[in-house]
Symmetry: C2
Subunit: 224 residues, 2 copies
């Protein structure tokens, strides 16, 4: 059962909420479940295209693709109040790819089932418009990754990534394995290890077991 | 002025054509111009987000992105009957990136201006739905490129590319500079030259001045 705070979250995070009918709101709420996923749990994968829309209440999700050989690249992250639409890609015509979604922290979320969402969306252009705006927004996120991967050297990408991670952690020190960074950047762990070692030699970062500290933010900014 | 064959093209290539009103059709036709672009002409670039929807009547367009340093990668190609939507990205909320469009052959096309398209689209969900399906379809095209670039070795990508080019040319021999292939794959010309040389040594292709011939299609297929 959803409680009052879940209703508030839906009202605040779905821009069409106050423009749809009470009956439509009831349909959505009736098809919504609250979940808490532990850190590292798989929330959605390519075996199920119809998980539904995921609204993050608290925590952090990573959306990524994975190759046959297990190589990964992070497309974007979702934080509190963000809504994941590609986990409901069965609703969207012409989306032919699959993404994986994983909880990076313990994450509580509302899952609006595709059935309920589709029922309301089918008859309400406002809801369709919202879906399409989400799709376009994720398309833009992915293009940003494409530009980074194709056009930027790995040192620049790593510097941007470390500054972003510090912003997410709200601290200059944060946990980060070389493996996790490699997955985010879509490169090999050895490349990350080598580049971090160079950053350390240049006094930009300090590497500790399972973690990193930024020592020279200005220096990292200059690399970007 | 559009002629009868242009009307036919709009009817055949716009799935909503017979479901919109005569007035809406007149608005679209009134805002549509026919263009012929010579081979290699720039049809759309990032200085103008509002070129409009481009419908290819004959010829071939390449849609690509370009870095500050001039490095390119091809996102997809448009052929006869295809419609380019990202050249009208000013119509689409949350699309924050820009693409370039270039004619690869002499290309005749209809350009539906954004004003006319928006006028009809604003009041007709069928037209909006068509736009969104085009966007999702291009999103899927781009994800395919992402997966290729990130997850495939360059020999595999080059083999796929050569087989695609032969299919487009409808011949095992086609014109292709190493530069053009490098732009398509988003890699350096030297990498392409080296790999083509290896393909030639392996008896897969024969390299001529400004062109290529596939000698062993099965061998190329096996690489993919």
């Amino acid at each position: 059962m959803l409680d009052a705070s879940d209703w508030t979250a839906m009202e605040e995070n779905l821009p069409f909420w106050n423009k749809i009918s009470t009956k439509e709101r009831d349909t959505l709420v009736g098809g919504t479940l609250r979940f808490v996923h532990p850190k590292n749990a798989v929330v959605h994968d390519d075996r199920n295209k119809c998980t539904g829309l995921l609204m993050v209440l608290k925590g952090q999700l990573r959306v990524f693709i994975i190759s046959d050989t297990g190589k990964e690249i992070t497309l974007y992250r979702l934080f509190e109040r963000d809504v994941c639409v590609l986990s409901a890609s069965c609703l969207i015509r012409n989306i032919t790819f699959d993404v994986h979604v994983q909880a990076e922290l313990e994450t509580s979320m509302l899952r609006i089932t595709t059935d309920a969402y589709q029922q309301v969306s089918r008859n309400n252009p406002l809801v369709q418009e919202y879906t399409n705006q989400l799709v376009s927004s994720r398309f833009s996120d992915v293009m940003w990754v494409v530009e980074q991967v194709l056009f930027m050297s790995i040192d620049r990408r790593l510097a941007i990534h470390l500054l972003e991670q510090a912003a997410i952690a709200q601290s200059d020190s944060f946990t980060a394995t070389h493996d996790a960074i490699a997955r985010d950047l879509g490169t090999a762990r050895e490349v990350v290890t080598r580049m971090l070692k160079r950053f350390q030699e240049d006094g930009l970062v300090s590497i500790s077991r399972g973690g990193l500290s930024l020592l020279d933010r200005d220096g990292l900014y200059r690399l970007t």
